[in-house]
């Protein structure tokens, strides 16, 4: 048991570190300062292209697809080192995370040739059109209709919660292609050109004020059958594969919020009735609990990495992270705001230490829902890991159009 890099890993880390030191600083938002979306996106594309050229866009993929044919471990080392900078990667997170790997798995060789390179270089951005107003946790309830018309399909309906649809060039989509059979059996999976006539993207303003995700309306949108991924009515399998892809990534145990050092410093600056917050025993108990959770998640992630680098499949770590991290962010943020007493009613301006808790408290409410709610993930663990009976599914064998 050890955490040390093997000599090969250490050499790779050094290589990555040197490369990042040379190039990443220019794109770090601590260097560039606050930029409007357009400028930041342009900078992001430039950064992404640089990574692709070096083979760091998808390290485990072969050279022709902007990788270096590296190991899963090297991918992780790269991500660890990259996390020391604050880079404009967010726009490509979906692209690289799900749609492009799915295209590589289910797309034709020509499609891979055409789309993977531009996607990995950041020239083209992909989104994932899954959720609908009536299909969230129960994804197989999608209604967006796909009707065959010669060599094409005609799509009509609505998607929602689509991250970065407003800047996307393409998207992968799950549709209802046969409503006369039970829901899991009548879906077909495509990728669509987001610039197609009939697609309308409307940003949704979130409680945090941000506009990361969107509603996407489809009105008679024509998609060639050649853009189908998987079998006709076999879309559920591809959708599941897409959801599985989401698991393999570096875990940020803070959930993008403040870390424990941040909380300690915050408490060292804040006065309570009997002195500084950091000397309050309740505060000290909570700090230890959150540290313990973060350490547990990190160590669990090391276990998953070990499995991965030994050629195995990581277990339900993703579900554990998803259950723990957003909830912890919400609790910790609320706790920090609580310590501010009456002062906590103010929305702090950016740059103030307290601002991170205010933002974390708002965003965590969304993280607990996005990409699998706390409740669905608990079901997943209970059913798939602990082998409890599945929920009663009254609609399982009923044709979709009779529900």
């Amino acid at each position: 048991m050890d955490f040390k890099d093997t000599p090969e890993e250490a050499a790779f880390r050094a290589e990555v570190r040197a490369w990042l030191a040379e190039h990443a600083v220019r794109y770090d938002d601590r260097t560039t300062g606050e930029l409007p979306l357009e400028k930041r996106l342009a900078l992001g594309r430039e950064w992404q292209a640089l990574k692709a050229e070096r083979g760091f866009a998808k390290i485990t993929w072969p050279r022709e697809f902007c990788g270096i044919g590296g190991t899963a471990m090297q991918q992780v080392i790269y991500q660890q080192e990259e996390a020391n900078y604050r880079l404009p990667n967010v726009y490509f997170k979906v692209s690289l995370g799900m749609p492009l790997p799915i295209l590589r798995r289910f797309g034709s060789p020509e499609q891979q040739q055409r789309y993977l390179g531009p996607g990995l270089r950041g020239d083209e951005i992909w989104c994932q059109l899954f959720s609908e107003p009536a299909a969230g946790s129960d994804l197989a309830g999608v209604r967006l209709r796909a009707v065959r018309d010669g060599d094409d399909w005609i799509l009509n309906g609505q998607k929602i919660w689509t991250s970065w649809a407003q800047v996307s060039d393409f998207g992968v989509i799950v549709t209802r292609s046969d409503p006369s059979v039970p829901k899991h059996k009548g879906m077909t999976y495509f990728f669509v050109d987001m610039k197609s006539p009939g697609i309308e993207v409307r940003p949704i303003k979130q409680i945090s004020g941000g506009e990361e995700f969107n509603e996407v309306y489809f009105t008679d949108v024509r998609v060639p059958d050649s853009q189908r991924l998987g079998d006709v009515h076999g879309g559920w399998k591809v959708a599941l594969a897409t959801l599985m892809e989401e698991r393999f990534s570096v875990v940020d145990v803070t959930g993008g919020g403040p870390d424990l050092d941040h909380l300690i410093r915050f408490c060292e600056e804040l006065a309570l009735e009997d002195g500084l917050a950091i000397d309050d025993s309740d505060v000290r108990q909570r700090i230890a609990e959150w540290y313990t959770m973060e350490q547990g998640l990190k160590a669990n992630y090391y276990r998953a990495l070990t499995t991965l680098s030994n050629g195995g499949l990581p277990g339900p770590e993703g579900a554990i992270n998803k259950i723990c991290i957003p909830y912890k962010l919400q609790q910790m943020s609320k706790f920090a705001m609580d310590l501010m007493g009456a002062g906590g009613v103010l929305a702090p301006s950016e740059g103030q230490r307290a601002s991170d808790y205010f933002v974390g408290w708002l965003e965590a409410a969304g993280y607990r829902i996005a990409g699998g709610t706390d409740e669905i993930l608990r079901n997943t663990i209970a059913e798939q890991v602990l082998k409890m009976p599945a929920d009663v599914r009254v609609d399982k064998d009923v044709p979709f159009n009779q529900l």
């Binding site: 991500q79 570096v250 230890a288 160590a299 090391y302 276990r303 070990t306 030994n310 993930l377």
Partner: protein, 386 residues
């Protein structure tokens, strides 16, 4: 990165599990719990036949010279089967304390017999309820002789030797130090105490001027005790993780078998989510325990943070699992007949011994704050950053 036990270590785990499944049944645990015998002597002897007592003791003192990872593996299985033997007191506390603080002669005097399973040891710090590290210590040594009493002492009624904290003179403000005590001498009074978990007995030890030896190696008292407790926290975390796993399995088996409203109760989300929460806590506890095991075995300074985290997570996991296991079992869970209370009792006993989670959380935060100020501006170690 290789954050797993080796194949040999996994084999040891499987062997230990097979052996204990067969030889450490809940009937055996109950027998010790409901009697005055203190521990199961037959099981203790079987453990020595398998070499468990010497597994982490260096070869020069008659052990097998294995490391703490092996000891952690055994601890997990002993915890899983609630083994009613003084292994924790002897190994995680007394032996480790002696290895850390004893002179070569002192180690040579006791460890070979410990490794052979012929001696039982214990660590005696507490004198009254409250923190283990409270300022006041009544026990004192004068003219090489110890006066006072310690309570509660895990396995104190059956131990042959003890490491004991005492003031180094009769003066109230004399510094506290650790002493090595042969308990098989006149002037030692032992009385078994009623405990919440009868398979983990505790005793009061009284001393009327008995001969003791100072343990001076390895730094001052506070550092010595911190190092001893960090190791014990790690090893006990493995016992807790083992117990928590067994408890979760028990809860799952019952949830599948018990039917209500026409379905197994494990099909209801209220029960499912409870089980999922148990699982999450167990996995986090296991991960924390592994990390601490690595730090303990490799002598890494990270142990100062990893051990408290392991203790806090394992205490939380075991406690949650045992209390909710009873809940899932309904009325049957509240009976003497069903084993749920054995785990419930053990989890509470382990949660208290070597100081409760409250105390460990305070310790962890103190160390976190200290580290933050020490390493401010220094980059985090690359190997563990992410």
């Amino acid at each position: 990165m290789n954050f797993e036990f080796s194949d040999e270590q996994k084999m040891l785990r499987d062997q230990a599990q097979r052996f204990l499944r067969e030889n450490c049944t809940s009937a055996l645990v109950r027998e010790v719990m409901e009697s005055e015998q203190g521990y199961d002597r037959a099981l203790w002897t079987q453990l020595s036949e398998m070499g468990w007592h010497g597994i982490a003791i260096p070869e020069e003192f008659g052990g097998l010279g294995g490391g703490y990872l092996e000891l952690c593996i055994l601890a997990e299985q002993l915890g899983r089967f609630l083994a009613p033997v003084p292994f924790a007191a002897t190994q995680y506390l007394a032996t480790r304390a002696l290895l850390l603080t004893g002179s070569e002669q002192q180690k040579a005097a006791w460890l070979p017999e410990v490794a052979a399973g012929e001696r039982i040891g214990c660590l005696a710090l507490a004198e009254r309820p409250g923190s283990l590290l409270q300022r006041q210590t009544e026990c004192f040594v004068a003219g090489g002789r110890l006066h006072g009493s310690k309570t509660p002492v895990m396995d104190g009624a059956v131990a042959d030797f003890a490491l004991i904290s005492a003031r180094s003179s009769v003066a109230a403000d004399a510094p506290v130090a650790l002493y090595l005590v042969d308990l098989c001498q006149p002037g030692v009074q032992r009385s078994a105490l009623p405990v919440i978990d009868g398979s983990r007995p505790h005793a009061r030890l009284g001393f009327e001027g008995i001969v003791v030896e100072p343990l001076h190696e390895g730094g001052d008292y506070a550092r010595q005790v911190a190092a001893i407790l960090d190791g014990a926290a790690t090893l006990l975390a493995f016992e807790q993780v083992g117990g928590a796993d067994a408890t979760l399995e028990m809860a799952c088996a019952f949830a599948l078998e018990r039917k209500a409203f026409g379905r197994p109760i494990g099909g209801f989300q209220a029960v499912k989510h409870k089980l999922a929460d148990m699982y999450v806590k167990n996995e986090l506890a296991r991960a924390n325990a592994y990390y601490a095991a690595w730090a303990l075995a490799s002598g890494d300074a990270e142990l100062a943070l990893a051990a408290p985290a392991a203790r806090i997570a394992a205490t939380d996991a075991f406690e949650y699992a045992t209390q909710e296991n009873i809940q899932i079992h309904g009325g049957m869970g509240y009976t003497w007949e069903v084993d749920a209370h054995l785990f419930y009792r053990r989890s509470r006993s382990l949660a208290q011994v070597i100081g409760s989670a409250r105390e460990w959380k305070e310790r962890l935060t103190s160390r976190l704050v200290a580290r933050l100020h020490q390493t401010a501006k220094k980059p985090v170690k690359a190997e563990v950053a992410d």
